[in-house]
């Protein structure tokens, strides 16, 4: 039996055409299949098309050509409102620049997608309390986004994306603005939801994040130049002293 992929992109192309300038081919013929429960990290130099690709997969930008299938259903032909429904029901998206609703509290930002998705107010609140707690943000619940640091806003954006327990989590550099300690909270939450079966595709420069993934896809100039599993060479075990050599 073959499982239906969570994502299947076929020969996906995005060419930006702005005004009378030259067309910019940002994604050039990407084929990508992601299985349910898989965690895929997308890496690559700046300008290689990572954000464009993840936006295409979330329907936040329209493809120039190619196909996108989500959970076995054709998605690239959906209208904007069709995508909006799909995102509300199935996709959590973390933007590189947060996109929080500025005139709502942190708590409301996180609860909103769950409420829109049909959760009861009580369920939405419990989920929000859990996620903010995991990300060390409990005492920021009543704040407005503008009162938060960049790192805090980014963690709120992650909590919001996970509020609805979406089938698919898409994220664009979700630790890009975080210091070490906050990154650790995000890493913990990502690995926990992944263990619970969450499908994750995220763009990252952070090797600690990529190290959690099952698979890394490398982009260069809009094309996939590598796609493979991240394998452990030795079994789990050993201490810092066995793994890291202290000379002296």
């Amino acid at each position: 039996m073959t499982t239906t992929p969570a994502i299947r992109a076929v020969n996906l192309v995005k060419i930006y055409q702005s005004g009378r300038g030259l067309p910019v081919p940002a994604v050039r013929g990407v084929d990508l299949t992601v299985d349910p429960g898989e965690f895929v990290a997308i890496m690559g130099p700046s300008g290689s098309g990572k954000s464009t690709l993840i936006h295409l997969l979330g329907g936040l930008d329209t493809r120039t050509s190619g196909e996108i299938w989500l959970d076995g259903k054709r998605a690239d032909t959906l209208s904007e409102s069709g995508w909006a429904v799909l995102r509300r029901e199935k996709i959590g998206f973390v933007f590189q620049f947060f996109n929080l609703v500025t005139n709502m509290t942190v708590a409301d930002n996180v609860e909103l997608p769950a409420l829109l998705g049909g959760a009861s107010p009580r369920h939405a609140r419990e989920r929000r309390e859990y996620l903010l707690g995991e990300l060390g943000l409990t005492d920021r619940a009543a704040a407005a986004p503008a009162q938060l640091s960049g790192g805090e806003q980014q963690r709120v954006a992650l909590a919001r994306a996970l509020a609805n327990q979406p089938r698919l989590l898409l994220a664009d550099e979700p630790t890009g603005n975080l210091d070490s300690r906050n990154t650790r909270d995000v890493l913990k939450l990502l690995s926990r939801v992944h263990r619970q079966g969450q499908t994750i595709v995220l763009v990252t420069h952070d090797a600690r994040v990529a190290g959690l993934a099952d698979r890394v896809v490398s982009l260069l100039d809009g094309e996939i130049v590598d796609d493979g599993a991240i394998v452990r060479r030795r079994g789990p075990g050993g201490t810092a002293g066995d793994v890291v050599e202290l000379r002296g």
């Binding site: 130099p45 090797a207 490398s218 260069l220 130049v225 590598d226 810092a240 002293g241 066995d242």
Partner: protein, 168 residues
């Protein structure tokens, strides 16, 4: 191990077993537990080089044990070690050698080399992440050592990306 034993002896005289215990207490899991035989071998060499001396201490019911103490020469060596700059880990790079030479010889292309190396670094990163997870949160020395290794790996990955962008 020479320097760590000298440093411990600079603090106070001790016998072999006490040195082993002290190393374990200071480094936690950051240091592979030194075996007592290795410690005695190292102490023997330090003694031969004049960096430490030992005196036998009488013990009731047991063979005498040796207590080691540091000499002036030992202190001087230790001082020099503490003061000299320590080589960074990046002064030699075998991978870069491969990256520049292999394509010339047709053995491998650069893209494949870089991709393989990236996956290797990421699997190391994964191991370090798991290691950090199972390290006792109170073992600060071990956790800092792991964090240092992770930061180095991150720099290596960033640099791979630069190589991929710049080299034809």
């Amino acid at each position: 191990m020479r320097q760590s034993l000298l440093a411990l002896l600079a603090k106070e005289p001790a016998h072999g077993y006490e040195l082993k215990q002290a190393l374990e207490a200071i480094f936690g899991s950051a240091y592979p537990s030194p075996n007592i035989g290795q410690i005695y071998v190292t102490l023997g060499r330090l003694e031969k080089d004049g960096h430490v001396r030992s005196v036998g201490v009488e013990q009731s019911n047991r063979p005498n044990k040796k207590v080691y103490y540091i000499t002036a020469a030992g202190l001087e060596t230790l001082q020099a070690w503490a003061e000299e700059p320590t080589e960074g880990p990046r002064v030699r790079d075998e991978f870069f050698m491969k990256l520049v030479l292999a394509p010339m010889t047709g053995l491998s292309d650069r893209m494949a080399l870089i991709n393989r190396q990236r996956r290797h670094y990421l699997s190391l990163m994964r191991e370090l992440g798991e290691l950090a997870e199972r390290t006792d949160p109170g073992d600060r020395v071990a956790l800092l050592l792991i964090e240092g290794a992770m930061l180095h790996l991150q720099a290596d990955l960033d640099w791979l990306e630069r190589c991929q962008e710049e080299l034809p």
